[in-house]
Point group: C2
DNA sequence: GTGCAAACGGAGAAGTTCTCCGTATTATAG
DNA sequence: CTATAATACGGAGAACTTCTCCGTTTGCAC
């Protein structure tokens, strides 16, 4: 890869990170290119679709989130590790508006599959929690994600979202 | 209101219903105007914002949904009436992509507040269910909506969404 | 009928995404 | 160190969007 190409690519990702943080994942690609100091053509050559750009931006964040899972699994009993990780994921998802949508909507892209990485990470935690009898055995990983991203979509407020997650974990029916 | 104005207004709503059903709530307003056989200016005069147009489109549906609540309340015990209505709402919300977003995002508009109508309807069912001890007493109406619309956002498939709702009702933890 | 208030609709301004292609830059071979 | 070929650049512009303005047409009350 040529030096100027690499440099431009990095500048576009940096600009995209900033602009998406400000305006969400629907931010204008022209604006991102302008801030990166490149022409629109350059942006589109490096990232033919918006999805690929978003995937590049979020790659680092997702990897951080998944790395945390191992620490949690080592430090807590399986059931608690899972719920703690779900809360962590919820927090990450809320940090940038649209991360949730991005993660669920974006398929495998350019040699990095956010979704698959998250799924295998969550899958390990879930299986362990189920083996320990802490979580209902018929629960699927996909369902976990869908509930979390659904909650994240419903409110931007972290305490509020955490409350919704608790409700979901415990159920809406009255305890008796 | 002049006859031609009324006629055009109705045609725009009819066209919007069709186009939104096909393309979701982000459908092009130009396309809606074209199909209604009016100019863009006419559409914008009747509905200055997209929100007002969407509110008009969904008004009828929401009223139908809320009317069903009374029938349910009369026919079933409070707890079952609530869960049945939640399933009905989920179904309605899934029927048109974006109804969920529309209902939650759109505030009071043009003398009709989708959100308030839904809230008071659901509030009645919820209070009754709580009084009967079927639902946890700390649950808020808003939370109910947020969970439902979150689920609807997570998947367009009704059986799948219904399963997520069941999970939420019963909780993710293992029964023991 | 006739007049005027009201509504119409299209042109167009300003924004978007995305493409094409002539120009400029870079790496490399001699 | 220079010449060349491959590569990347970036701006112009096409096709779309939302939304506004205003000259023209229409319906209704008198």
């Amino acid at each position: 890869m040529r030096a100027d190409a690499r440099r431009n690519r990095d500048q576009v990702i940096a600009a995209a990170t900033a602009v998406i943080a400000e305006e969400g994942p629907d931010a204008s690609l022209n604006e991102i290119a302008r801030r990166a100091g490149v022409g629109p053509g350059t942006l589109y050559r490096h990232f033919p679709t918006r999805r690929e750009l978003i995937a590049a931006v979020f790659r680092e964040r997702v990897e951080t989130l998944c790395a945390g899972a191992d620490r949690l699994a080592a430090a807590s009993p399986p059931g608690e590790a899972l719920t703690a990780w779900m809360r962590a994921m919820l927090k990450h998802v809320l940090t940038d508006r649209g991360l949730a949508t991005a993660m669920m909507d974006i398929g495998p892209v350019a040699g990095f599959d956010c979704h698959a990485l998250l799924r295998s990470t969550a899958g390990r935690l879930l299986t362990a929690a189920q083996a320990a009898g802490a979580v209902r055995p018929d629960l699927q990983v996909e369902e976990l994600f869908q509930l979390i991203t659904g909650i994240a979509h419903a409110t931007p407020d972290l305490p509020h979202a955490t409350r919704l997650l608790s409700l979901t974990l415990e159920g809406l029916h009255a305890p008796h």
